[in-house]
């Protein structure tokens, strides 16, 4: 399963969002994810991939695609 699929799985499960409506262009607001959903997803993804997502980076995410791209980049760094 790709990193994107794994991230989508985690976010959809935590925020109760239908995966069908999640695209890279979707904003968290459009997906109706609140701040607790986002924090739960960040922590779950950090633990799943053993990476760290600094808050200053997380605040730059404009949409789901930015989020996925950052995780992909960090996973790639780990080799």
């Amino acid at each position: 399963m790709s990193v994107e699929e794994q991230v989508k799985d985690i976010v959809s499960k935590i925020a109760h969002i239908d995966k069908e409506i999640m695209s890279r262009d979707s904003t968290f607001k459009e997906m109706k994810a609140d701040s607790l959903d986002i924090v739960q997803a960040l922590v779950a993804i950090e633990e799943q991939f053993d990476i760290e997502i600094p808050d200053e980076e997380a605040q730059k995410f404009r949409n789901f695609g930015d989020f996925v791209a950052f995780v992909e980049q960090e996973v790639a760094k780990k080799g």
């Binding site: 109760h16 701040s35 607790l36 986002i38 924090v39 739960q40 960040l42 922590v43 808050d55």
Partner: protein, 341 residues
């Protein structure tokens, strides 16, 4: 297995609450001395050790787990638990997640405790958000109103999850085998109420729970349903109104009958059980956070040692009666009937 290994292990946030750490440590020591639980205090090592020393507690009575940071009341909860991962709230919650404790009790920021619990322990499958509820002391102690303020904006299916948690509450705490469930609304007939009520009603009817329809405000204290669900906005308004009744009634009567105001004051303060009306979690000083996949109790910010003692023992009881397992089994049972997705 040693006796100690069979005890419920309770982690207590030593740094949370208006009277922390002194009252928290005092209550924890009281619980440890009763001998039914193993207590771990989570907080700044030197501060907690000094408080333990002042209580005359031997070093082997209570374990200390160091946590550098403290979440301050008013910090945005979701942000605080991300930015303060070494806070007593996060460290204490993670002790439960990592299997080093069975229960976490905190009088710190309620929002931060709920956020940390949802994040690090996760939700029971079928429950979306942590919820708080309970009976109204004095006049209606054997009902459960859920939610009482943890979720001010709710989706219809969340009310179903509150109803499930309330049903398990009424069954395990009050011993009611098949609790009735009502939805708080502005009229008793189906179809009355706001959009949330109208959308939640068919879900509740089809939930497999013992749903009895709309409950009006004047039905709450009559006990017309054992479990009453509403969003946290409505629940909190109802609760605060209820809490104000005793004091207001006393002031009104003393003004109306000034000649006997001493008697009125005596009756309200010493005789009648309505000087301080509240929900039972508030009265006891702490309440269970429902829906979390673990036992977490949120204590009132202004709580004292006795409330912490009660919270620790109530947490122990929640583990012993397997309250989380009961909730999971109720959800599994309803799903097996094809009632829940």
């Amino acid at each position: 297995m040693s006796q100690s290994a069979t005890k419920v292990r309770v982690a207590v946030d030593a740094m949370g609450g208006d009277n922390a750490p002194d009252e928290i440590v005092k209550g924890s020591v009281m619980a440890a001395r009763q001998g039914h639980v193993d207590v771990t205090l989570v907080g700044q090592q030197d501060v907690v050790a000094r408080c333990l020393s002042e209580q005359g507690a031997s070093p082997d009575l209570v374990r200390i787990v160091h946590a550098d940071e403290v979440v301050v009341e008013g910090e945005p909860p979701a942000v605080a638990i991300r930015q303060k991962r070494k806070s007593s709230i996060v460290v204490g919650t993670r002790l439960v997640r990592d299997g080093e404790a069975d229960v976490f009790v905190s009088a710190g920021s309620s929002g931060a405790v709920a956020a940390a619990a949802a994040t690090y322990l996760g939700m029971v499958d079928g429950m979306e958000r942590p919820t708080v509820g309970g009976g109204f002391s004095s006049f209606a102690p054997n009902i459960v109103v859920m939610d009482l303020g943890a979720n001010v904006d709710c989706k219809p299916h969340q009310l179903v999850s509150f109803a499930i948690a309330g049903t398990v509450y009424a069954r395990t705490v009050y011993g009611i085998e098949n609790p009735t469930v009502g939805i708080l609304s502005t009229g008793s007939e189906e179809g009355k109420g706001n959009e949330l009520v109208k959308e939640a009603t068919p879900l509740l009817k089809d939930s497999g729970l013992n749903f009895v329809g709309n409950i009006e405000g004047n039905d709450i204290l009559m006990g017309k349903a054992n479990v009453i669900v509403c969003d946290g906005f409505v629940g909190n308004v109802v609760l605060k109104f209820y809490e104000s009744i005793g004091d207001r009634a006393k002031v009104w009567l003393m003004g109306k009958y000034p000649r006997i105001k001493g008697l009125v004051g005596y009756m309200f303060d010493k005789v009648l059980p309505i000087k301080k009306l509240s929900y039972e979690g508030e009265e006891e000083g702490s309440g269970l956070l429902w829906g979390i996949d673990g036992v977490v109790r949120i204590a009132h910010g202004a709580c004292h040692a006795e409330h912490i003692l009660h919270g620790i023992n109530a947490g122990r009881k929640a583990v012993e009666v397997d309250i989380v397992g009961n909730l999971k089994r109720e959800i599994a049972h309803l799903r097996a009937q094809g009632k829940l997705q």
